[in-house]
């Protein structure tokens, strides 16, 4: 039974990784842009929420509602004024620019908030749990997983059921022809990165309430996000959730066997999945 419990905790942890990865997956799917600063932007959002919580005395879930439009704005501006200029046939410029942005964000946050590790206080929610049959499940992990499912449901609705989503997919297919339809690719990309950053704010509130964070943990979150996206199959959001769950389960099982193996077990699972299914669980048919 303790194994079942471990697996359940791992599945719920997978929700957090899916939240890390959803924005990365969206941006990559639409503009083939790999944002190496994605993890650092999650940490930036966590500090933003921390400031709102400790400065204004807001509840974290209220603070995230304020942080989401702010992060959308940051994402929009970042794409419109910086990243759009790097897009082109060469894939190197966006990698270099976002890598540089990652360094700038880490050092900016170090300067502003020091290297002390922080946590977003969430009051009684930190330790609240409910009994589900034989298991005791934390309320926060459940909320994390539910948020991940909700985010992916909504993103899929936007992508496949709205005019904006059609524009995203059309631009991803063929930006020149999309222009003939009246779609402005650069503006579409800015909205996509804005949405990705709003999701980053949601990921950040769960990152920051669940455990300690400091300005340097961004790159590791980026790697978890990458692994979830790649295991799931590029371009598939439900695949990203599946990838996150595999990573989460592998980490908790590894950690249950030996606490030193937690991170390593996740990476080993990633390599094994790639060996068996090089294109991930649900690769997009059109590529």
């Amino acid at each position: 039974m303790s194994w079942a419990d471990t697996i359940l905790q791992g599945v719920l942890l997978g929700g957090l990784y899916a939240l890390f990865a959803a924005g990365l997956s969206l941006v990559f799917g639409i503009m083939r842009l790999v944002n190496l600063a994605h993890g650092d932007l999650i940490v930036l959002a966590a500090y933003l929420i921390l400031v709102l919580v400790s400065g204004l005395g807001l509840h974290p879930f209220l603070a995230v509602l304020i942080a989401m439009p702010l992060m959308f704005g940051i994402g929009w501006l970042l794409q419109a004024y910086v990243l759009n200029r790097t897009l082109g046939p060469d894939i190197l410029p966006p990698l270099l620019v976002t890598f540089g942005l990652s360094v700038v964000l880490q050092n900016g946050l170090l300067q502003a908030y020091s290297a002390d590790s922080r946590r977003i206080p969430s009051g009684s929610l930190e330790t609240a749990s409910v009994a589900l049959g034989p298991f005791n499940v934390g309320v926060m992990p459940m909320l994390t997983f539910a948020s991940a499912v909700a985010v992916i449901l909504i993103l899929n609705r936007v992508l496949y059921g709205t005019e904006l989503g059609r524009a995203f997919r059309a631009t991803s297919d063929d930006a020149v022809t999309a222009g003939l339809m009246g779609i402005r690719p650069n503006r579409t990309f800015a909205v996509a990165t804005g949405i990705a950053m709003a999701i980053v704010a949601i990921a950040a509130v769960f990152l920051g309430t669940r455990a300690n964070f400091d300005p340097t943990i961004g790159p590791a979150r980026l790697i978890y996000a990458f692994e979830a996206v790649i295991m799931g199959g590029l371009g598939s959001l439900w695949g990203t959730l599946a990838g996150g769950v595999v990573l989460g389960v592998a980490q908790t099982i590894g950690g249950a066997v030996n606490p030193e193996w937690q991170i390593l077990a996740g990476h080993i699972a990633f390599v094994l999945v790639l060996l068996v299914r090089p294109r991930g669980f649900f690769p997009r048919a059109v590529d």
Partner: protein, 235 residues
């Protein structure tokens, strides 16, 4: 005043000049055809008008307004829609979504809507939920035409509709053109097939090596004159 005009239109791909001063005009309600061999500059002309290629502002006038330097979305929002060469349907969109995206930049009320396009091409309604690129070439061309019509354009640019299609399919596609004309759109057709072009067009322009070599009403042009303008063989 003509609805759409080009004046001394030049176009370049980096150092390569593709158009050397093209003058043409399209009146409201008119259908013109542009014929010429491969490499004559027909597609470059379409790409210039539609804004995919940027040109001198005054080289292209729409209702007397300079539009040569506008981007494709800006040109499209004025009511100039393009059926691009090779159809260029969006593979991740269904047939119906491909049609709907045609009105993204210009959702103007007018004669064309999903219903009227499905009435013109009933086969598309049957296959509305299949991916656009799963259709046959002729059906894909119908989607591409419908997609351009969804914006209720004032000018419809058609680039090489017959490319890669069987003659019988080409006839079906061109059978739709009287209805498109009657809806009030002015039409520019680019064709390699001179016979087809002469049948649908009020006026014909013949292009060779980036220049207009002949123009006039189909009835007034002799086969020999077109032949000479098309291939450059001086009779």
């Amino acid at each position: 005043m003509a609805l759409l005009e080009t004046h001394g239109l030049t176009a370049f791909y980096r150092d390569f000049q593709a158009l050397f001063g093209v003058d043409l005009s399209l009146e409201a309600g008119e259908t013109i055809a542009i014929v010429g061999a491969n490499g004559a500059g027909k597609s470059t002309l379409m790409r210039s008008i539609s804004g995919v290629l940027r040109n001198g502002a005054d080289q292209i006038l729409f209702e007397g307004r300079p539009i040569g330097a506008l981007t494709a979305p800006d040109v499209m929002s004025l009511g100039i829609a393009m059926v691009p060469e090779g159809r260029k349907l969006f593979p991740s969109l269904s047939v119906e979504e491909n049609l709907l995206i045609g009105r993204y930049g210009r959702a103007t009320k007018g004669p064309w809507s999903l219903e009227t396009i499905y009435r013109m091409f009933p086969v598309l309604k049957e296959r509305r939920n299949t991916p656009g690129t799963a259709l046959s070439g002729g059906q894909q061309q119908m989607v591409a035409i419908g997609r351009a019509l969804m914006s209720n354009p004032r000018v419809l640019l058609c680039d090489e509709l017959s490319l890669g299609l069987a003659p019988i399919i080409i006839r079906d596609i061109y059978a739709a053109f009287p209805a498109i004309r009657d809806s009030g759109a002015s039409i520019v057709i680019v064709e390699q097939d001179i016979g087809q072009a002469m049948k649908v067009a009020d006026r014909l322009y013949c292009m060779m090596e980036g220049r207009v070599t002949l123009s006039g009403r189909p009835a007034e042009l002799s086969r020999e004159a077109i032949h000479a303008a098309y291939f450059g063989a001086h009779a």
